[in-house]
């Protein structure tokens, strides 16, 4: 019992540190998701509508990213970019790596959603005289968006989990904060447990939100 009180005392002492770590974890994830989604939509469009050479290049990009562990992406972006003259600090390099990782996922989601739309619709749109950009913005994209939204929300949970890898390059997000606290008070069991609980809370909320979105956007059949 005494040990538990000592733990609570340590949590109280470290409350701002934990909150700051949590804040950074959330900002990393949001930034990575935002940048990765913008890039990913472009990737998805290129994969679906690009000409052959463009498709080949973009396919090589996504295959390469998806075949590489995220940790390797994080380490490589931290060390390679600065060696070739692009100065990014650990936070920027980490967000960059996660955004690249996210873009390959979102690219596949966008491609899948667009290709799932029956080609008859494009033909019908053409028949009533819509240009391709009109067809895309008012026929194809709204449907694709509806279909990919739930999967996209789950990608957010993946990003939160992947943000832990930034601790390896010294970004003080929740996991590194936890390790810093443990190095001071040696309570590894308690504080890893606490970190797990916090990550679970965030991701569980995202998962529930994803289920909610899925219900909202599903087309009644």
């Amino acid at each position: 019992m005494n040990e538990f009180l000592a733990f609570l005392d340590q949590v109280w002492l470290a409350r701002f540190v934990i909150l700051r770590g949590l804040g950074l974890t959330v900002s990393i994830s949001l930034l990575a998701i935002a940048l990765g989604s913008v890039l990913g939509v472009l990737v998805g469009l290129a994969l679906t509508y690009g000409n052959r050479p463009l498709r080949f290049v973009v396919r090589a990009y996504t295959d390469f990213i998806r075949g590489t562990p995220v940790l390797v992406l994080v380490l490589a972006s931290f060390y390679i970019l600065s060696t070739i003259g692009i100065e990014l600090n650990a936070f920027q390099a980490g967000v960059f790596a996660l955004a690249v990782f996210c873009s390959s996922h979102v690219g596949e989601i966008v491609r899948g959603a667009l290709q799932a739309i029956p080609p008859g619709q494009t033909e019908a749109a053409k028949a009533i005289g819509l240009t391709f950009s009109q067809t895309f913005t008012s026929v194809l994209w709204p449907q694709a968006l509806r279909q990919m939204l739930p999967t996209w929300v789950n990608t957010a949970a993946e990003m939160v989990k992947a943000s832990t890898l930034l601790s390896v390059i010294g970004v003080a997000e929740l996991l590194l904060r936890t390790q810093e606290i443990i190095s001071r008070n040696f309570m590894s069991l308690e504080f890893y447990f606490l970190a797990g609980l916090l990550y679970f809370a965030i991701n569980y909320a995202i998962e529930r939100f994803g289920k909610y979105v899925e219900r909202k956007v599903s087309v009644p059949s």
Partner: protein, 281 residues
């Protein structure tokens, strides 16, 4: 099989990007660069007490951090003009060679192999392995442990050399290896081991945190030097850092060094003898 080709294409792109990177002439010393910038970029860790760790109010502190502060003080007259780059132990050398930090102070053991990649400063601490006992335990000191022979159990951090390391001091003792520092202390506390063998600095820190509960067995072995490190090829900058550290251990900044030593290792240092310089004795 498109992959080898794709990989090849990536290599080419990277090679082109590399070739396009501007070549900056290395005519100015890091010293001028740091002075112009107005602060020092110090590489260190954040998860190892008492070397480099976070205080309750989230400030980096520890003996390594203080060495950086000594360098910043000699540069700017202000020990706080530091930008910290926190890094894991295996990032120490890459972060120096890729120019992410001006200097790294992170309990770095000097070895010949490492000295071929980075330039080490003069040492600022001599680490060694020590033995810690419970204050009210069965054994009084190192001699008692040695006499007890095989009935002694020593807890140590998991490591390929752990067994040999302990047996160098206590040839017959049985060795229990644990995964983290807290566990080797717990083993001693719970009576599963009779002594803890680990870095004397860690032991000193633990004993200052838990006064009167433990004692040092009074024996040290496995010496190793801890030095800061800078990039190779800039003698001017290396000289400056060396001078700063040297004067902290023997000259005008001795009090800074001694205060830090007292805070983290709990021991008072004697001021260097006045008169003939200690270096030539």
């Amino acid at each position: 099989m498109a992959i080898p080709f794709r990989a090849h294409a990536l290599l080419l792109t990277t090679a082109m990007m590399v070739a396009a990177a501007p070549a900056v002439a290395q005519d100015k010393s890091k010293l001028d660069e740091v002075l112009e910038r107005g602060h020092l970029v110090l590489g260190t860790g954040s998860t190892n007490a008492p070397w480099h760790f976070k205080s309750v109010d989230d400030k980096l502190q520890g003996f390594d951090v203080d060495m950086g502060r000594i360098i910043a003080k000699s540069l700017f007259g202000d020990p706080d003009k530091i930008e910290y780059v926190t890094q894991s132990s295996d990032a120490r050398i890459p972060n120096i060679t890729t120019g992410k930090v001006d200097v790294t102070c992170q309990f770095m053991t000097v070895t010949g192999e490492r000295a071929q990649q980075v330039a080490f400063t003069i040492p600022y601490y001599r680490e060694g392995v020590g033995l810690m006992l419970k204050a009210d335990g069965d054994y009084a000191d190192y001699e008692a442990l040695k006499e007890a022979g095989s009935s002694v159990t020593v807890s140590v951090l998991q490591n390929v050399y752990a067994e040999d390391m302990v047996h160098a001091a206590l040839p017959e003792a049985s060795v229990d290896q644990y995964e983290s520092v807290d566990l080797i202390y717990q083993a001693l506390e719970s009576g599963r081991s009779d002594a803890v063998a680990t870095d004397q600095s860690s032991l000193a820190w633990y004993m200052t945190q838990n006064p009167d509960r433990y004692r040092d067995a009074g024996y040290g072995w496995n010496p190793q030097s801890y030095s800061c490190a800078v990039a190779r090829g800039d003698q001017d900058w290396l000289n400056f850092v060396n001078t700063a550290l040297h004067e902290a251990m023997t000259g005008v900044e001795f009090n800074f060094y001694a205060d830090s030593f007292k805070t983290w290792f709990g021991k008072d240092l004697q001021p260097p003898q006045i008169g003939f310089p200690v270096e030539y004795k």
